[in-house]
Every structure is written in C-alpha cells, then in structure tokens.
Amino acid sequence: MAHDTEFHVHHDSPEAVGRRERLGVRLLIVADGAFLFGMIFSWFYLRNLNTNQAWLPKGVHSFSTASGWVAAAGLIVAGIAHRIGEYNKAVRNATALIALVALLVGGYYQWHQMAHMPFVAQDADGRPFFNGAYASNWVLVAGANMFHYLIGAFVALGLVLRGYRTKLDPTLEEWRQRTAGSWFTWIAVSGILCALATSFK
C-alpha cells in the first residue's frame, strides 16, 4: 500500500511549488487590487458628483482623518514585522507573533470604529440608515480593511504555529515566508490607500 502510494503521488521540487504559490497569491492580489480600485473609484466618484449635496449632508459627523490612519496601522505594522522576520530567520518566531498581535489589535480597533459610527441616523419609523454617500463609502472601506485583518490574522496565526513544527520542508517554508510577504505587503499598501482615500472627506 505504502509502496503503491509512493508511485502515485508526484512531488514537484519545493522550488517549483514555492514559485507557483507565490505567483498564485500575486494573481489573487491583482484581483483584490481591482476590488480596491472599484472602492476608491466609488469614493471619489460620489464625492465629486455630490448628488443632491448629500456626500456629507450638513450636520452629519465624519470620522477624523487620523482615525483612518490608526485603522490602517495594524496592517502596516504587521507588514513591516513580517518583512523583518522574512530576512532575519533568527527573529522570525518573534516577528510572526508581533504581526499576529498587530493584526488582532488593529482588527479590534477597526471593529470598534464600525460599532460606533457617528453618521448613522434614523428615519421616521426609527429605522437606522447611513446618512450620505460619505457614510456609505466609509463603511465599505472599513469592511475591506476588516477583511484584510481577518485573512491576514489567519495567515499570521498559521505562520506562528508552523514556526514550531519541525517536520516541514524548510525550502518550501522559506518560499511560503516570501509568498506570505507579498500578501502582508499588499494589505499594508491597501490599508494606506484606504486611509488616503478616507482623508478626503
């Protein structure tokens, strides 16, 4: 049985597998980038169109510019921490943990913001609605950040746990560090672009 299996599973070299995985992740980043483009397009399109003067109707509160940057901070810290660990194997377990914690804390902050939005109003029947196009766009951007925090935390947790396993192929794991690096860098860039967009109120 075991002998038979040996004959049927094909093993490509870890180099080939690693390269493949990195390309795949980069292609998914392209897709996510197109999503980000759509979101930022929406932000500036509705902002400049300002239909019915209701981008940010009079008297509606907005988030401060700084809060948008704070919301992205977790993504940026995680990105930097991972890059440090990627190039310096000695501190890798520590930086992986830092990235995970940064993502969890940042994710919590983003969630907290979403739970306390200043622009949710109530209609005549007492039902909540988002007052204006700024509010609508803000919650979409925050949702995208949240998505990145969650996926990022999953990857970071995996890297932390895998850091303690010894039976893994070291070459492939090295490639996976680089692959994860593409993703962490991307979510940091995406966080910065989102924070930039939300700075334009």
């Binding site: 038979d4 390309l23 897709a31 759509g38 979409l140 999953f154």
Partner: protein, 621 residues
C-alpha cells in the same frame, strides 16, 4: 515528478488514509451541513427582527444564502486543507491521493476531488445544465413574444425570465470553454501532471456549484425585475428575489477569481520541458488571456454587488440619489467588468476553433503571432472601452468621443482573428467533420456580430440603436454565434478524449443545421425589430413589430429543437457511442498522446516538446 505504475487504476487498492475526515465527506454531507447552516441562519436571524422592514428581510435572506454556501463547503471538506496548513499538519501523501479520487470510480464526481479531469467533467455537466435552464427560459421569452398582446406569462414573470435567462447564460458562457476544456484538456495539452493548485481547482467548481441553488431560489422569492445588468436604483427597489441575484454574483466572483488564478499559474509555471511560449497551443494562449483578463476585471462587479447588498440590507446610499448616491456609479463599475467580460467569453471559443482549424485543414495555423496579437490586443483594449455602454446615460457626454475611438479600434485585433482563420483555410482541403463545421458557422456569425458592433460603437448611430432589440441581436451573434459555436466545436473535437467515445455524427450534423439556421432566422428577425424601433426587454410590443418577432420565435424553436438533438447525441454517445481511438483526428497536440482513461498524472514519462503543434502540410515549393 515520479511516474505512474503500469497497473491499471482499477486493480490498485483504493488509498486509505486511516481515519482521516476527508474519507467521510462528500456532496451529501455538504448538502446536509449547507441546509443546516442556511436554516439555522434564517430562523436565528429572523427571531427578534422586524420582518416588515425590507432591509431586515434582505439581511436575513442574503446571510442565509451565504451560510448555505459556506456550510456546503465545510461539509464537503473544502476547508480541511487550509485548516491543516494553519495548524502545521499538512495533508499526507495518502490523503492527497485520496482527494485526487484515485480508484474511486464514479463516486469521485460527488466528492471534493482534486483531479483536473474530474473537475473538467463536473464543469461540462454543470455548463450543460445551466445552458438547458437558460435555454428553456429563452424559449419561454420567445413564446411570449411570438405575438403582440400575448399573455403566455405575466410582466413580472417576463422580466424575471429576461434577467435570469441573461445571468444564467452569462455564467454558463463564462465557463463554457475554460471550465470543461480549460480544466480537463489544457493541463494535458501543456504536458502538466495536474493543475497548479488542485485543491483550489476543486474549490472553484464547488463554489460555483453552491451558486446554482442560490440563483434558482430567485424564482421562489418573487423573481428579479432588473435584467442581468441589475441596474441601480431599480435593484435597490426590487423585491426579495434580488438577493438571490446579488448572492449568486458574489459567490461566482470568488469562483472565477480562484479558477482564473489557477489556470494562469498552471500555464505560466507548469508547461512541459521545451514548451516555450511560441510553442504553446493557441487554445491554451486564448484561455489564459481570457482568465487573466477576468482576474482584474470581475472584482469591480463584486464591488457593485456588495454596494447593492449594502443599500438593500443596512440602508447605505450608494445608488440613492436623495442621499448622495448615483446610478451612474453602478453603471461604471458594472461595465468596467462588463465589457472585458464579453471578451472573457469570446476569446476561449475563438481559440478553440483556431486549435481545430489546422487539424482539419491539415495546414499550419496561419500566422500564430497574429492570433496572439489579436487576443492580446482585444484584451488590452477591452479595459478601455466600458463607457460605450453608457453613451446615452448622460453621465459625461464629453467622453463619448474618446470611448468611440477606443471601441472602434477593437475591430483591428478582431480582424486579425478572422485573418488567422481564413488564412488557415486558404487553399486548404478541409476535412468536413463536426468541429470544422463550427469554424464556418463562427465566421458567418461573428462577421455579422462584429460588423453590427461597429454601428453600435458609433455614437450618433447608437443614439438610435441603444437599448433596442438591435443590441440584443448583436450580442447574441457574438456570444452565442461566436463563443457558444466555438465551445460546441470544442466539445465535438475533445469529446473522444473526455469520454473515450466519438460524438454521434448524424445527431451532431442534424443539430448543427437546426441550431445555425434557426439562430440566424431568430436574430436576423431581431435585427429588423430593433432597426424598426422595438426596445429590448419588453414583455409586449406594437403590431408594427409583429412579423419580425414571429420570425424570431420560429427561429428560436428551431434552435431549441437543435439543442435537444445535440443533448441526445451527447448522452447517447457518452453511454454507447463508437469507441474512440487515441488520436481520431490525427492532431499533434499533447492531449492526443495519452490514452483514455487518462492516467491520474496524465503522462507515464513527462513529455518533452520540440516544436509547436502546427507542423502540418508539405512545402509549397
């Protein structure tokens, strides 16, 4: 890569990864968990919510639909791989072999099977089912339009038919060539053992599978009033059926992103030794350009659908003009996806026909480079033309001129596709088999579809034609006349490799003529109705348009009959057709060098490629 043992698959013991959860999961466990998740979410969220508020209804329905999808995927074992990666206990060889379906016979088609050949067959059956459903709706639409004042269906049902026919067919057409052939044939064509990411390959299919019941649920939730374009703010106003549409698109967008990334990576990174870029079969090039174009194009539709979902559930105002929204935002996001999408559909069909033509004319593909330039040019330009769907939207009239320029320039790379096909035919003696017939049908249909596109891309003419039946006829000529014809040609061509049997020729010929003649009657009639001034998507029309519509309906029935005959031919041949030899067409691509059934890792020894696969013909001198 190690080689396959020579013992036939049936005599090898079924791999038995001891006590692994993956051996216990299949489509049945997926359905059970999906339904539990769906019902749990539905009743859990409904409790304590004011269900007279449409926002709450939408919230509950949408979340239930997503819960179904996630539940199904958990139940079939889609997340075992990622979870095992997370905890650092990667799948063992035995488990991977089990997942590949080795020695599991027919049951592997109902499991989370990673073998690209299984996924290809799953896609083929799925596409046929979607085309069947979409085609039935088309027949109902044409029956209602046979005479003015018809009451075959009510306007509510009619509008839903138009929208659901549209989206069902669009989904079917996006996967019609890259699904079955891109998964089953393409890895063999490039000499690979499997796709780059076998588990993601299974995921793309099963994610798509979960979208189907969601789409069908639209009927039980009151249908959709918006057509497949789902323009806002009509979609904000629409009833609960709209949620099914929104959820379907979001789920489908995940599936296409995963599939697109997987196919692209496979082609870039897993080609056989010696298969340089100028030796890659043209179908592989076309399919790759198509899915690579989908990767950046489709997410904007997802943004638009998420915004629609947010407007409908948590009362945001992306598309509500009172609160700063705009329908133009939707139209832009939709068409930034929508126009590349047309070419995502078209290119693999054309590429399949380019693969076919040299084999049957016994001549090299004429100007391989022109073919690539044609595909690449179309793909490149297609992201710069989206607003030609919005000439009459009034969103920015000053951009009509520039968009007209980019749009009309697409006719240059499109012309190259024609050149490649007629250049291949030139002075040749074509072997008139079913696949080759499709090449001729394509040239006729796509010529009409292409030329009518030039009027539509011209702003002053579009002033009159926009939103009329003329547009409907035009895009059916391109999507059905060109892309579906290409896919049917591909099916006839690769059927022997995918099923081990020849497609019944007589059935195929009869079906071909019923479909093609009917198709041309149908849509030439629709061109007349459109030129006369009949708007599209109307449940009823003035007596002025009666003749043209009756002609169209007769053509439609002929197409329907032809498709039923084709379905019969496929089922009949699959069960008891003539056994196919290994290379029935005498073709030179790699998929014809492997036997049927294709071994699990495709090749006993990895192939080495020394030339392109178009070395047909003798020297002219």
């Amino acid at each position: 890569m190690t080689t396959l043992s020579h013992a036939p698959a049936s005599s090898r013991p079924v791999p038995n990864p001891q006590k692994s959860l993956i051996t216990k999961l299949n489509m049945g466990t997926g359905m059970v968990l999906g339904i539990i998740f769906c019902w749990g979410t539905y009743y859990g969220m409904k409790a304590g919510r004011d269900m007279t508020d449409s926002h709450n209804v939408n919230k509950v329905l949408l979340m239930s639909m997503f819960a179904w999808s996630v539940g199904f995927l958990i139940g079939i074992g889609a997340f075992i791989g990622p979870f095992r990666w997370l905890i650092g206990k990667d799948l063992t060889d035995e488990e991977q072999l089990y997942l590949a379906g080795d020695g599991q016979g027919i049951s592997r088609y109902f499991k989370y099977c990673t073998d690209h050949k299984v996924v290809g067959i799953q896609y083929l059956v799925g596409v046929m089912a979607l085309l069947g459903v979409g085609g039935t709706m088309a027949m109902m639409i044409r029956t209602n339009l046979a005479t003015p004042g018809s009451h075959f269906v009510t306007p509510v049902v009619y509008n839903s038919l138009v929208g659901l026919h549209g989206i069902t067919m669009i989904i079917a057409m996006i996967i019609v060539a890259t699904g079955p052939f891109g998964n089953y044939i393409m890895p063999i064509m490039i000499g690979a053992a499997d796709m780059a990411f076998p588990r993601l390959n299974a995921l793309s299919w099963w994610v798509l599978f979960t979208a189907v019941p969601v789409l069908c649920s639209a009927w039980f939730l009151g249908g959709i009033p918006t057509g497949w374009t789902a323009y806002a703010p009509l979609s904000d106003q629409a009833g609960p059926g709209m949620n099914a549409f929104v959820a379907t698109i979001i789920i489908f967008a995940f599936s296409t992103a995963i599939a697109g990334m997987n196919i692209t990576t496979t082609v870039v990174a897993m080609r056989a030794k010696g298969m340089k870029w100028n030796r890659v079969p043209i179908f592989v090039i076309g399919a790759t350009i198509s899915v690579a174009l989908a990767i950046p194009a489709f997410p904007t539709f997802m943004v638009a659908m998420i915004q629609t979902a947010m407007d409908r559930t948590i009362a945001t105002s992306f598309y509500d003009a009172n609160l700063g929204g705009s329908g133009w935002l939707y139209a832009n996001l939709f068409w930034i996806m929508g126009h590349p999408e047309v070419y995502v559909i078209l290119i693999p069909g054309v590429a399949a026909l380019m693969e076919i033509a040299p084999v049957f004319v016994r001549k090299p593909l004429f100007s391989y480079n022109a073919a690539i330039a044609g595909f690449a040019g179309i793909a490149g330009l297609s992201i710069l033309v989206w607003a030609h769907h919005m000439y009459m939207a009034g969103w920015m009239p000053s951009l009509n001129g520039p968009f007209m320029v980019t749009t009309e320039f697409i006719s240059v790379p499109t012309g190259l596709l024609f050149l490649v096909l007629i250049g291949t035919m030139w002075r040749g003696r074509p072997w008139m088999k079913l696949p080759m017939l499709s090449v001729y049908a394509f040239i006729w249909d796509f010529l009409i579809g292409g030329i009518t596109g030039i009027y539509l891309s011209d702003v002053p003419a579009d002033n009159y034609l926009h939103g009329s039946m003329y547009v409907t006829a035009h895009f059916h000529y391109t999507l059905m006349g060109a892309a579906l014809t290409g896919a049917i040609g591909g099916l006839a061509y690769w059927f022997p490799k995918m099923t081990g049997r020849m497609l019944n020729e007589r059935g195929g010929y009869i079906s071909f003529w019923f479909v093609q003649i009917g198709f041309n009657v149908l849509f030439l009639g629709m061109f007349i109705a459109g030129a006369t001034g009949q708007p599209r998507r109307v449940a009823d029309y003035a007596h002025l348009f009666a003749h043209a519509n009756l002609i169209s309906t007769m053509g439609a029935y002929s197409v329907g009959l032809g498709m039923i005959i084709l379905l019969w031919a496929i089922i009949h041949s699959w069960r008891s057709g003539k056994i196919a030899p290994m290379n029935p067409w005498g073709a030179k691509t790699l998929e014809w060098t492997v036997p049927y059934p294709v071994p699990l890792v495709n090749f006993d020894t990895p192939p080495v490629v020394t030339s392109d696969p178009y070395g047909y013909g003798r020297s002219a001198k």
